[in-house]
């Protein structure tokens, strides 16, 4: 799979279709985001699989936004999994990236990763390598829904109280780009107080991410307190899907029901 992708990227670079390719590199014994600029030299190119599939994923789209802001006239290639591509569609919709300035190079996730992520679409539309992996069911959300309200409340209270307010969930999030963040608004979240006022911090964020979160799970992996953030956002996404028929980034050019006036369609 990786050879097919490398060949494709080398082609894009030598034909000068892109100014650079944002992908992952293996260096110093670690996996890091990297901007490949030379089609001849893709040494170290990696897909971010170390011990297990997808265990070294990085928010490449976040870096892509930084690059595009500095070089708005340039076109960049970017390595995408299914979730990353949903992120791109979301960032196009939210005017953070320009579609014709981005060339996604996609590959599918293996079934084991799809299942671990409970991913709805574990492959991108721009599939360069791999097969369309089957989507997985939302087992953990169903399991949580099976518990009664009091137990769910206790569960989440116990989770939120662990928060150390590192803001890592926000900082790693490829869909978080606001200049002013409501989590830093002192009227909503008191500065310097721990534990956080339960559950304001996380529910504020969950509401704000309702039509943005693309279920990449990077927040969950970045949380030093192991709060199951992905489960929370999956539930939020499920409500958005059930009530509004909207899933962030699933369909290109789809507008968010939260930014439309009038009755739901």
């Amino acid at each position: 799979m990786i050879e097919t992708i490398k060949q494709h990227v080398a082609g894009l670079l030598t034909e000068k279709k892109i100014a650079g390719f944002l992908g992952l590199i293996e260096k110093n014994g670690h996996v890091a985001p990297h901007l490949f600029k030379d089609g001849e030299s893709l040494a170290g190119f990696t897909l971010g699989d170390r011990k297990t599939a997808g265990d070294a994923r990085y928010p490449l789209n976040k870096t892509l936004v930084t690059l595009s802001r500095a070089y708005p006239e340039e076109t960049f290639g970017v390595l995408v999994r299914g979730c990353d591509e949903r992120g791109l569609y979301g960032l196009f919709r939210l005017n953070q990236l320009t579609e014709d300035r981005v060339i996604p190079v996609g590959f599918s996730c293996p079934a084991e990763l799809s299942e671990a992520c409970e991913c709805r679409k574990p492959y991108p539309d721009s599939l360069v390598a791999g097969e369309k992996t089957e989507s997985s069911q939302l087992k953990k959300v169903a399991e949580m829904d099976g518990k009664d309200l009091a137990r769910r409340f206790d569960f989440w209270t116990a989770q939120f109280v662990k928060c150390v307010k590192c803001y890592g969930c926000r900082d790693v999030c490829p869909m978080c780009f606001c200049k002013e963040c409501s989590l830093e608004c002192e009227d909503l979240v008191a500065k310097g107080d721990l534990p956080v006022e339960v559950p304001v911090f996380h529910l504020t964020r969950a509401m704000h991410m309702a039509d943005r979160c693309v279920d990449c799970g990077l927040c969950d992996e970045a949380c030093p307190s192991d709060i199951p953030l992905r489960l929370l956002y999956k539930k939020t996404a499920q409500i958005m899907d059930t009530d509004y028929g909207f899933t962030s980034g699933l369909n290109k050019n789809e507008r968010s029901p939260l930014s439309q006036m009038g009755p739901a369609k």
């Binding site: 944002l22 260096k27 014994g29 976040k62 150390v164 803001y167 890592g168 030093p224």
Partner: protein
């Protein structure tokens, strides 16, 4: 266009979390925790997440400050060190080594911290040594 990620270790405390400092055209743009680091496994605290911000901050102290007439004034290293040496000598001569204490730092190397405690114990004669990151 030069985009780089530099793998480095957090300077804030003794844990030693690894992250990438992201630079675009020589300017720091972001901190990304290293997912493959066995120390922090892709996680950071709030200080680590914002470590790139102080480096190029206008308010960063670049010169020693000495209090003169109640005001902190920027001085050269030579003056700051000479003043410190004079006062250390004067205070320890009058009250003994335990009248002073030494604060080491997580922002310097092991070797520099070793030197500081050695200086405190062997040259000044006190065990009053502490550290900003004694976790």
């Amino acid at each position: 266009m030069e985009y780089k990620t530099t793998l480095t270790t957090c300077t804030y405390c003794g844990c030693g979390c690894n992250f990438y400092l992201e630079t675009l055209d020589g300017k720091l743009t972001n901190t990304i925790p290293c997912k493959t680091s066995p120390v922090n496994e892709g996680k950071l605290c709030i200080k680590g997440w914002n470590v790139h911000q102080f480096v190029q901050n206008d308010r960063r102290l670049k010169k020693p400050l000495l209090r003169k007439g109640g005001e902190l004034v920027e001085v050269e290293w030579e003056e700051a060190l000479a003043y410190t040496a004079d006062r250390l000598k004067a205070v320890t001569a009058e009250k003994g080594g335990d009248a002073v204490g030494f604060l080491a730092s997580a922002k310097v190397t092991n070797e520099e911290n070793y030197l500081l405690q050695k200086f405190a114990r062997a040259a000044i004669g006190t065990n009053n040594v502490d550290h900003c990151a004694r976790l």
